[in-house]
Amino acid sequence: MNAPQTPHALHFMPSAGFRARAKDVVENPFLRQSFRGAMDFLMSKRAAQFPDPEELESLRRLGERIRQYNLAKLPDLLVQLESNLTRNGIQVHWAETPEEANAIILGICQKHSAKLMVKGKSMVSEEIELNHAAEAAGIGALESDMGEYIVQLAHEKPSHIIMPAIHKTKEQIAKLFHENVPGVDYTDNVDALIQIGRNVLRQKFLEADIGLSGVNFAVAETGTLCLVENEGNGRMCTTAPPVHIAITGIEKIVEKLEHVPPLLSLLTRSATGQNISTYFNMISSPRKPGEKDGPGEVHLVLLDNGRSQAYADEQLRKTLQCIRCGACMNHCPVYTRIGGHAYGTTYPGPIGKIISPHMLGLEATANMATASSLCGACGEVCPVKIPIPELLIRLREESFTAPHANPTMRGQGAGHNARISAIWRAWSAIYASPALYRAASWLASRFRWLTPRRQAGWTSVRTPLQPAPKRLRDLIKERP
């Protein structure tokens, strides 16, 4: 394969190379320009969907309430969902870890002697790295969402949860298709490129033994799996192959069917600025006797993978309100500067920063929460009002304070640094004491000429900070 390689291999080791990867993108004017353009596009599309601030705010409040209500009842709803799905003929499986989830999925594949699995867009399947596991087991796993297909051809990972190939230009995709799809001439006409993908993947839908999908909402009262999409590949994956396997995180559940319309409206309007997606697909059972198509077997895999840890804490539980619209990344000035790959996690951007520590532990993600200016743009647009900046502050605390007994999070204290903690203690001692502060600030202004000319990080693109010759309190005293 001669697909282009990204400069830094992408595996789940987020914190380690984060700054280096971010720097690579920030120093690439071409990428900077293209992310900015893409995010501007998505922001303006969303804004056009919410012309009435009152409607938006009340709908967000309703969305938040629905998510919090359902999370509060989560254990009961999971049991209800399981019972109704089972009654409908859908087989339910539970996995605590990515390994368990992969084993369940591959077990089903092997039972059917499957050779090819076509995949609809599923971030959870990315989270468990299903494609690697399937390949290792000799089962082809083919992405069918156009963006995911492109990213898979390039041996990369999605850089955005809604627009996986947002980092690629049509010219790059043209080259990728020309070099990797047999018999395809170079063309950078977007319609032609989509046709190429369509033709390749149609044959795969026809041949596939297994269709895999994610789930946007699982409805407990009816035992229904809901999928949101525009392309039709999700419907293909869930209808054409003889077996459908859906995978979802345990949090994506609502009790009532009527909880779906407001969440769907918030999701599509926030994500891509559509008033609704092209398809909204509700699956409640496998093929019934007499029906002529649809899979004979439907499975649902419920994955924990750290979600129960977030659930255990009242504040962190809000992380699980997420409906995966991606608006937080579209509006994030950091994501806009560095793109999705720099994060090194399956979920990039603000939501990635708050969910990944539960999946991967704070050891692997200790520094990610610092990559935010806490500007609040994410929290402002979140359709279910997740207080993302507050959660980032909480994660900083969990990471940097000294390890203690009974931590709420895996890897608590992983970012602890005795020197930094000592600096903050000293800072606190000075600023909590009027006398010490008076003395310290007087010294700083008196000896301002001693201020270093090089100040870590700051002076790489700014002139040095220097206290004023006289403090405000001095000027006040000197007033006539």
Partner: protein, 222 residues
């Protein structure tokens, strides 16, 4: 202990004591969405689904077959997949072949003819159960007579819709019809032809599903 029991035990141990009252979804819709007349709903439905690149034709209760024929002729389609077990499918199957349009019926399980469905079926004809004005959305409940792939695999999907069955909102549709009491194997909302913007945010139609979506909308005053 199984993974199931461990997950549930963890959640139960930490779940809040009360979830509070049920969210007032109905109240929100009552406050924020208006009830429109059938004609206005039809207009709104048409506006939004046309924005999503669908073609809509108003037809009379007796005139839809003629329009169906015209649409197929204009697109130079000479083969239409129909559902013979339905009234509209049977009508098409009896009236169109003499006009030069073959109308194979979807009357055998897909396993018997999958390659032909994927490679040799230019258009499919189904009815819609209803529609949603707010978003320009068709509601389809495929069944044994009119199976799921008819509205997905053929490159052109033609839908017969009775404008009397258009709801203001998705919420109104499910509440009025009592969907919570039982959903079919598969229920669908379709709001345009298949599309993608995955390459440089450039919109392209016909990603995996139909490239063209045609709605024949039966209206009383036509």
């Amino acid at each position: 202990m199984s993974a199931r029991d461990r997950i549930l035990a963890k959640l139960k141990a930490t779940a809040p004591e009360s979830a509070g009252d049920l969210p007032d979804v109905g109240g929100w819709y009552a406050d924020h969405r208006t009830q429109e007349s059938t004609a206005d709903k039809a207009k709104r439905f048409r506006h939004f689904i046309e924005l999503a690149h669908a073609e809509v034709y108003s037809v009379s209760r007796g005139g839809w077959l003629q329009k169906l024929y015209e649409v197929l002729s204009a697109k130079q389609i000479d083969k239409l997949l129909v559902a013979p077990g339905t009234v509209h499918g049977a009508r098409a199957q009896s009236d169109l072949p003499p006009l030069g349009i073959a109308c194979p019926g979807y009357d055998t399980p897909i396993e018997n003819w999958k390659p032909a469905m994927f490679n040799d079926t230019p258009a499919g004809f189904t009815a819609a159960r209803g529609a949603i004005a707010e978003t320009g959305t068709l509601i389809l409940w495929p069944n044994a007579d009119e199976p799921r792939l008819m509205s997905l695999v053929p490159p052109v999907h033609i839908v017969l819709l009775d404008a009397a069955n258009i709801y203001n909102t998705f919420h109104e549709a499910m509440q009025t019809e009592g969907w919570q009491d039982g959903l079919p194997t598969n229920s669908l909302l379709i709001s345009g032809p298949s599309k993608t913007a995955d390459i440089q945010q450039t919109l392209a139609y016909g990603a995996h599903g139909p490239k063209e979506l045609v709605v024949l909308m039966i209206e009383e005053n036509v």
